[in-house]
């Protein structure tokens, strides 16, 4: 089994708010992240796939295909967007880094053909990142 990791970057804005919480509870739980006008990050996405090396091509996965899928499913939908308002997963879910990793996993998993998805890692900043390995 060989693991291949591809990186990508995207920039987006978001804010944290739960309509089931009172205003006071929203302030206490989410602090500055609750500003409804949003704030932004430069995200780094790392997608790791795993599989056996194809003896004819020497590849775990056709990298061009993986890049295309990442572009179509993630970057086109999220780069330079306001996640709460423009990405359907976050119309009702809070766009935390945790939920972003899960949403990206779900967008990619069904689209990959040759290799299996192993891990989605999303860096919100270089000092804060979330890993998701699918349902365990």
């Amino acid at each position: 089994m060989v693991y291949l990791t591809r990186k990508a970057e995207f920039s987006a804005s978001h804010y944290y708010h739960n309509p089931e919480f009172s205003a006071e509870e929203n302030r206490r739980v989410f602090g500055k992240c609750g500003n409804p006008n949003g704030h932004g990050h430069n995200y780094t996405l790392e997608v790791t796939v795993k599989g056996e090396v194809d003896p004819r091509s020497g590849f775990v996965v056709d990298l061009r295909q993986l890049k295309d899928i990442m572009h179509r499913e993630v970057l086109d939908a999220m780069d330079h967007r306001f996640l709460n308002k423009e990405v359907p997963e976050f119309f009702s879910n809070i766009p935390t880094t945790e939920n972003l990793a899960i949403a990206i996993w779900e967008r990619l998993e069904t689209k990959l053909r040759q290799a299996r998805l192993h891990r989605v890692r999303v860096y919100e900043t270089p000092d804060l990142f979330v890993d998701f390995y699918g349902e365990e």
Binding site: N18, F21, T96, E98, N99, V130
Partner: protein, 140 residues
């Protein structure tokens, strides 16, 4: 849906690697430059990984304010700008980054209850890092 939250912190400290159980020559042989009696320092980077189900109401594994507060209070303020050899916990054991990594894991394990502690990774320099995950298998 279990997610793994990773957070990086920085602190600086000095140490000298020297074992009371070894002769002077053996200490020099084992620890080389790190045995310099006056000690030397590092800028450490600490990476803490916690895991858990993502809370539907908050979208979080745990509130980052709680994790940051705990690490600041119990780890960073304890070790930052200290000489590790002068600390109680290193009177009997050598303050290698291995031992420091295990020590920090144990502090978090004992005191941080808001999420499951998965792993502590400690970078001594950009070239050296150590990981300890206690009883958990080390996940890559």
């Amino acid at each position: 849906m279990i997610a793994y939250l990773n957070r990086r912190y920085r602190f600086s400290a000095s140490h000298r690697l020297h074992s009371a159980e070894m002769s002077e020559a053996e200490n020099r042989e084992t620890y080389g430059k790190c045995n310099n009696p006056h000690g030397h320092g590092h800028n450490y980077t600490l990476e803490v990984t916690v895991s858990g189900p993502v809370d539907r109401r908050t979208g979080m594994v745990c509130n980052l304010v709680d994790l940051d507060g705990f690490v600041e209070r119990e780890v960073l303020s304890r070790y930052n700008l200290q000489n590790l050899n002068t600390m109680q916990e290193f009177t009997q054991i050598v303050p290698t980054t291995e031992n420091l990594c295990v020590g920090i894991f144990e502090i978090l394990q004992r005191g941080f209850a808001q999420a499951h502690l998965e792993r502590v990774r400690l970078e001594e320099t950009m070239m050296n890092s150590f990981e300890f995950s206690g009883p958990n298998p080390l996940r890559k």
